[in-house]
Symmetry: D2
Subunit: 473 residues, 4 copies
């Protein structure tokens, strides 16, 4: 089987989290299910829901899409007032789903269910310290580190204080939804690296990685969780406390480039508008004479529309995506493997023959797929193919939860733009500038993280040699 | 579970068929697998492949998508020189897959594997005649009627002659791929109601419902199978004979409106160009002052681009589709059910707020979904919503293999355009005219079937009361 | 996987059939399920139930044990007044269950569901004749031949007459339960080779391969179906007609030796008593001085008790059977494979050490397992092992539905008793004589079939070269 | 579904454990698989294997029988030098298998895999203490308590010393197999309540709950692990140390009555011989005039043979067990439910009609099944049914890992023998005396635990009101 064929040559977000608070309603896990479904793009490898029924927590998690993992029967069993849900991109190679989330544990204060999006850069050190004190670990996920710290501090402190103390210890990115006692709690790292926001619906509240999950719950957007904030929903009210104050904000700019759904609003900014802006600025930065602007579907579509609007070159479709591409295929022979991009994309010959094309995509990671797409277009009769990328070259590894390949495999890290152009056989190649990207997001650059483009990390990160940190899973 | 959530309020095509001839290659069923995958949009309920290994036919068919049904192990077992594949939209309510295709039978001349797209309007009569002569039937699919007739005529005639005699008996629509002996045979009904075309690749041939399957096989389009033609591929050569001469051609126009993939070319006409033309003509027939043209994704996208080009009103995105919508969901409560369209579509508030929108879709069948979409847009702040449909109102049942609801459920059959407009709460509503549709397809109307719009059937059809024909399984 | 580990070196019965008639009750398929469960020993590879609801027949069949194949949901769906059930030993190597039973077909008179135990020796010839007349076949089971003949004769005759005419054509063994219209019909071949009997319970009737199925249904034994008889249950009454008169009866003696459950009564004879008699006569024919009589569990237990009673040598346990042996294991390495008998049998060292043992089993087919068991006992300290077999040597293939290996693999066909004794390393070896066997069954030898022992077939059989007949699927 | 139909009205043992040490061989998990299969009778609800590959531990555990849980693929992946296996009777009602074993954790000293049979009566207190110190728990099994203690003590002590300190803290029954580093360790509680023994085979060692697992591994019995002993297998040698000295031995006598397989030898005593002795002593204590001794298969068979030998009343079969009874059935209707014992047992009418029977079983727990069996026999014509039980009445709950019902449901606790006789409608009823039981086991009563019969617990146990301990998961 070819695993995870769903996206071609893209960076991968690690996770999506959701928390539902709805004591009066009788369908807590159904709400979590539909909410998670809306976050499915943030992780397709495993899904889980934990339901808190007066402190007693039941849960189910399994490899697969939300729709595959849960049945009516399972959802019916997960009763309670509060639910935590999680979708995950990466899973272990192991046969069991031990690393799937939410993590459910018993501590002094009772049961906790916890879902985490992000990466703690000092998890190995904390884990070692805790083991030196006699702790045991049953998974390799950071969430277990967080749960252990919270449990330790809870022996003498309130839940909120224990979380605050935990935040003082952990470094890295985290957006966490957790429940314990009668509380639903949302926590965001002091840089705000991972998104997290609050919604309200009739009968309850929702905390979600992205606002796109509110729509299906008929929920209103309330506000983003602030960097470093702890939000506690209890007795049908929202309470807030500052967990730890960050030196600076560093919202992940790649959420706007690719991860987030275009219908989400992150920290006040519409993702759709950012992407369209990116396309417009790209047209200003890298104009070209051409007959049609096309996108690599679906990731480049919004920017392509922006490029078209700005450049006045008409937008059209040149590539058709097969909508039924699942996660696995039978193993193709070598020859079929070379054709693998064809399983997903088909050229509209009639529409592009003899034309000069602007081909817009959101990013290039390894570059292998881009070459195949340009080839497809040219062999179908395109006269010229001008590739335009609506983000800067990806040159540095992310330490905060994005699954970037090793630097040597990042084409942006090892080759010049002209070398990449040759490699993908494009007639011209233009990347959006970092400034252009920040401008498209309509935020000042100093509250955005663009480290994967610039190497300018918001906090000290492990040296490249520290392989442990990179080891995903 | 809500069954078949994948498409909202659309007519359903019954099937897709494929035949592969590749005696030298060792991966016949792999080729069939990838080809079927490209035809997946023609049927998502069951999939099957039969491989002919020197007259001995092995097969596997099961409920599910192509990717779900087949494993490496199964594909490895299906060895041979010729393969027949089938995807099917409808399945019986029964637990077993008895009605899945291809149908594999033993007759006097050996094994036959047969895949059929279409509907025989006189199948009940023939079935009765055959039973009167002592035949037994194990399925309720028309293919078994065809196999029985071929077997009977084969007792005295050659395979080709037996097929020709069979064609004289059966009435209705059919595109058939079958294999027996060393032959791959393609047959198309005398009206050409169902599409069927021939491709050639290094080492073999392919017969397919649509040309979009050729791409992944690296096959060249050779030609369409002509209405009434029998095409025999044997000894690495194509032979043709006329099976039965039709009075007139009647290519299904709904293939161009919705069923076929935009990257297919049917009977010489690009589906993509037809749809874009339809959008343009729609803009001429039903102009309106507006700020943005948006589509119901994905079915309305191409026509929307055409409408935008013709009207000069900019094209934009107003609705985002959840790409992870599978065939089943957990059973929602009543309230959630009302929100069901939200599982699939999300509004881009920022992009449409305060705007006058042209909303383009390909067709309206029951009308229930259209109302929900207009509501979504208006409650998200759209100032006006002008609905434009790139085909005429569907008013009549199809007897040729399209799953149309009973007439009383066809909103186009029971209400005027103005009534429909009110029902869906649009500010204006315009349908493409029949003439406009034919013009968009760039064929004369007398070689197209538009019976579902006009009631003008290409052959005599059973009266509405004859329920047997309609009974959907 | 090692397939079908459930029994060691035994002949295999092909099938068990059941028919339930209970128009008033609402749980027809539940009754069939529990009845089939009692017949599970007759076939463990597939199971199926068809329910006749006023002529409309629904069914479900799948590979696996009765308990694995059916769920509450499936049983609930199979509603009706009459049900037909089937368990099957052999399945095709193919991935699909096309050859599972009951076979369900539509013919002129409506639906038929049919379950068959036995083997038609002239099936290939009839099949060919039918194909010459234009018939098609979708399976390779004899039931389809029967269904075709019944369908053909039904065009002019009543159901009963059609069955009678069919019986005139087919040769071989058959016990058939079928339903059509409002009737449950049981048919037995004119020699009575396969058992079939009738039971009555409150609210209905049951036709079953063995009477052991009556117990769980709280049914009373009524009588056996006579050789050549057609029994029709309709309007809550039993009607009988003679289908075809046989020249002689030939009840299968191996049913008494091994196939049937000891709590069944076949053609008036208790299986348990036959087996105990066999043990007693064996003790008379092959006495030996020994300390303990033990059995190969479970097949030799009853005869061992008989041997003990007759010989006055105490009965004890020397071998313990692992009760959790299912159909499949992981693939063992070569060394483990040699130990495979140990997965099923364990020696009671303490009980046999230093003892002279009489080891009783019902039959030896290939002889490989017997050797391993004798080895186990000796290496655990048994002083002597005297093997006693409660049936004569199996020397000839069965043509009537028992899965016998090719003659060259039948140790009884290729070696003398003394050679077998050496091969299995026993201190002495004694087989029951044919006369002794017949005597144990308490029937005259001329109404029993002992062809697998004597080669004295009740009818002319194909020559050994005709492989088609033997081809086990 | 009716859950766990496999045994009728019996006490349930909680678990079986196995540890394999075989650094040179390449099939460590295959050995564990076959060993576990031999322990399947100790738990049928879940199975798991963990393989230690130089300190890196991989594992797989799932609900189901050993044969159902593991595939070739999974076994192939579990590579290493040491393996731990576990079968479990009870599982949580939850959908997930979080409580299945072995438990695998990371602690300061690396990975640990641990399998536990038994019950810690002070687990709740220790759990609370550990939580007070900040520990978290992810399961509700005692093994996690043990792992936490070992981890805590390991921060300053060697593995062996940490285990010794752990043994000082925990109270109750335990037979544990664990691996960490390069070691396989076996630990038995100071009373020896749960059995554990050591075997040796070519290339390695095995630690097992019962010696019956040695047979399939071609292993020799070495010795039992002594009460309170810690056995360490490392560098291909066995090392022993005393963990904690018990005041007295208290081997579980119910292992001899029912749990253990008859071919096991526990603490020097053959289970088979114990059971046969029990039957003989029972005949002395409760003689009766009768025609035949029969057993409730399979649990009463050995004692019945003993009873027969002592009483000279011939042994025979009166009840036939359906060998295909799996864990689940479809839900029967009320009427069928009453017949449920018939799904498992069938009467041999011919063999018992008119006879005076001695019916031997090993124990009566609730008594409901016994009544049904006596009814079956009488309605089949038995003249008298004298029930003989080869153990004393079960009157007290077990606190050491046997799943006893609440006392009010123990028929032996609430009724006199005469009342039970009436309830089950027997002509006479005799239980083995406690002294007789101890005598049958051939050990002095003061080294056996018979608390479930006498209430004489080997250590102080929680009062009946402490429900937590009893809560069966």
């Amino acid at each position: 089987m070819i695993e995870n064929m769903m996206e071609l040559d893209k960076l991968k977000e690690e996770c999506g989290v959701i928390g539902i608070y709805a004591p009066g309603l009788k369908n807590i896990s159904q709400l979590a299910y539909f909410g998670l479904h809306a976050l499915q793009h943030r992780g397709q490898e495993s899904a889980g829901i934990a339901a808190n029924d007066g402190g007693r927590i039941q849960y189910y998690k399994e490899a697969g899409l939300v729709q595959e993992v849960f049945t009516d029967e399972i959802i019916r069993r997960l009763q309670g007032d509060i639910a935590i849900g999680h979708v995950r991109y990466s899973t272990t190679g192991d046969a069991c789903v031990v690393n799937a989330q939410p993590l459910v544990v018993q501590h002094k204060g009772g049961g906790i269910a916890l879902a985490h999006n992000g990466n703690l850069i000092n998890a190995p050190e904390i884990r070692e310290q805790l083991q030196d004190q006699g702790a045991i670990f049953q998974t390799s996920i950071d969430s277990e580190v967080i749960a252990n710290l919270v449990a330790r501090y809870s022996t003498t402190l309130s839940a909120e204080e224990a979380i605050r103390k935990t935040m003082e210890q952990i470094q890295g990115s985290y957006a966490v939804a957790l429940t314990l006692g009668q509380k639903l709690i949302g926590v965001r790292d002091p840089y705000g690296l991972k998104p997290l926001c609050i919604g309200k619906f009739e009968g309850g509240y929702v905390i979600s990685s992205e606002s796109c999950a509110f729509h299906v719950l008929d929920a209103e957007f309330v506000r983003d969780v602030a960097p470093g904030e702890i939000v506690v929903i209890e007795d049908n009210e929202i309470h807030s406390m500052m967990g730890i104050k960050g030196e600076k904000k560093a919202f992940c700019s790649f959420e706007f480039v690719y991860f987030a759904r275009p219908d989400s609003v992150l920290d006040g900014q519409s993702v759709y508008i950012s992407r369209k802006n990116a396309g417009k600025i790209l047209a200003q930065e890298h104009p070209v004479e051409a007959d049609m602007v096309i996108a690599v579907p679906d990731s480049g579509t919004v920017a392509a529309i922006g490029y078209s609007e700005e450049s006045k070159i008409p937008f059209g479709e040149g590539l058709i995506k097969n909508r039924y591409v699942g996660r696995t295929f039978i193993q193709p022979t070598q020859k079929m493997r070379e054709l693998s991009v064809r399983l997903k994309l088909n050229v509209l010959k009639e529409n592009i023959k003899g034309k000069r094309l602007v081909l817009v995509d959101d990013s290039i990671v390894r570059g292998t797929t881009s070459r195949k797409i340009v080839d497809l277009l040219k062999s179908a009769g395109a006269k010229e193919v001008h590739v335009r990328i609506s983000s800067p070259p990806v040159k540095y590894s992310c330490y905060f939860g994005i699954d970037t390949p090793a630097r040597k495999n990042l084409v942006g890290a090892t080759r010049s733009v002209e070398e990449i152009r040759k490699m993908i056989d494009a007639d011209s190649l233009g990347y959006l500038s970092i400034e252009g990207l920040f401008r498209s997001i309509q935020m000042p650059g100093d509250i955005l993280c663009g480290a994967c483009f610039s190497g300018n990390y918001p906090m000290e990160v492990p040296r490249e040699s520290s392989q442990y940190v990179f080891e995903k899973r």
